[in-house]
Symmetry: C2
Subunit: 223 residues, 2 copies
DNA sequence: CCAAAAGTGTTAACGCTACACCCATGT
DNA sequence: ACATGGGTGTAGCGTTAACACTTTTGG
């Protein structure tokens, strides 16, 4: 707490674990590293916090640098601070967890990375640093969040069908849910609103489109 | 993430929010500061992380310096990192939240503090830095934790009565609970075990003493 | 015998789970 | 007409919440 001049030299970084849903499956955004010793390996997008910059701002800045997202749910996850987690010196990483709507945004690969890509959560490779731990932790937080809050809205587009909503839950929880029971719960919570429009996209009955009544974080019990 | 030589100079501190139960009420451990500009103000006990020291270790070290606790529940809470939260420069604080058994331990006042004392949660003064925010956040975490996990054990002595257990819940949640329903839930969870001993302490029927079957953290649904 | 806290069951309301058939559309 | 996903109701079960009197002890 006291900032007396000690010879502490710790770098402070932020790493983002960004989730989205593509084709009813859960994806995580990874970058491929250019520099040794992790050259070619995949990792979470991150960077050092600027000297005069709040942590949340740093996370947002880094997130915007990689995706062009504006409509994003962002929340601090956990701070990882093992002494030897980085080979170059002591770096603690404040991990953030972000949810973005079904990725229609264009990714841009920054010069500092070899590449940027969405990875299916179930097929993640071995990541640099302790990033596998971070992702695991973030996934757990995500599971809790969608069961006890209304954050799903941040994974869905403006308009969506009940089936899309349900598939999103199923993708994250990794289990099937009964259609009728699911709808009963969702309706009982009054979180969503029918639009009186139909989604027509296949050789079958069109589905009603819905939107969220509110996109503010709320605590609710969903499943 | 990358520890290239930037001119980042951020100090990393740990602050502990330590709870206990005294006379069926919730208390927080505070220290009184000696130095300006917060001289005389109360704050959470904390300190800078040592260069070669894991964050959890730092929290534990600081905790042991203030109380002589060994049997403690400790968990990382949140990282507070607003740019101007400390007047002397940029300091981010990784807040920890700790639960210790009904405080029979002796507090020691370190030379660096004016005094160390347990404060009733409901009567907290205005604290230094952003420590009121930290305590509020920790209290919230505590409420969730006792409802969804078995951490209460870390607030109770080895042997306790059902009433003590219930009073602990009531102190934290700030509401009364029905005795019969409470006992049903607790027994159904099979977390505790009668000792066949009675607590005799007043002009009334003696109460059965119990202990926890296990003192390992578990996820359970209690209330 | 009185005061104080311990101990103990039942009922009604509600919420959860399991489960199957018809509907609207495009081909 | 058929294939595909959309939309809808009920019954049984378990869980929760509300509620009051008797027991054991010390003074």
């Amino acid at each position: 707490m006291k900032p007396h001049p000690a010879k502490q030299n710790i770098k402070v970084a932020v790493d983002n674990c960004i989730f989205t849903i593509i084709d009813n499956e859960l994806y995580v955004l990874l970058i491929q590293m250019k520099k040794r010793p992790y050259q070619g390996m995949w990792a979470l997008p991150g960077g050092l916090v600027n000297q005069p910059e709040n942590l949340d701002k740093a996370a947002l800045r880094i997130l915007k640098d990689e995706t062009n997202v504006t409509d994003v749910y962002l929340e601090q996850l956990y701070t990882f601070g093992k002494t030897k987690r980085d080979v170059f010196g002591r770096v603690i990483s404040i991990a953030y967890f972000a949810l973005i709507p079904s990725a229609n945004q264009q990714l841009k690969t920054l010069a500092k990375y070899q590449s940027v890509q969405w990875w299916k959560y179930v097929d993640l490779p071995k990541l640099a640093y302790d990033h596998n731990d971070i992702v695991k932790y973030a996934k757990q937080r995500l599971e809790w969040k969608i069961e006890y809050t209304n954050v799903v809205w941040s994974l869905l587009p403006e308009k969506f069908t009940l089936n899309q909503l349900q598939k999103t839950y199923e993708a994250i929880l990794g289990k099937e849910i009964d259609k009728r029971n699911f709808q009963k719960k969702i309706f009982a919570l009054k979180l969503i609103q029918p639009l009186g429009q139909k989604a027509m996209y296949g050789a079958h009955r069109p589905a009603e489109l819905y939107k969220f009544r509110s996109r503010k974080p709320k605590i609710v019990q969903i499943l």
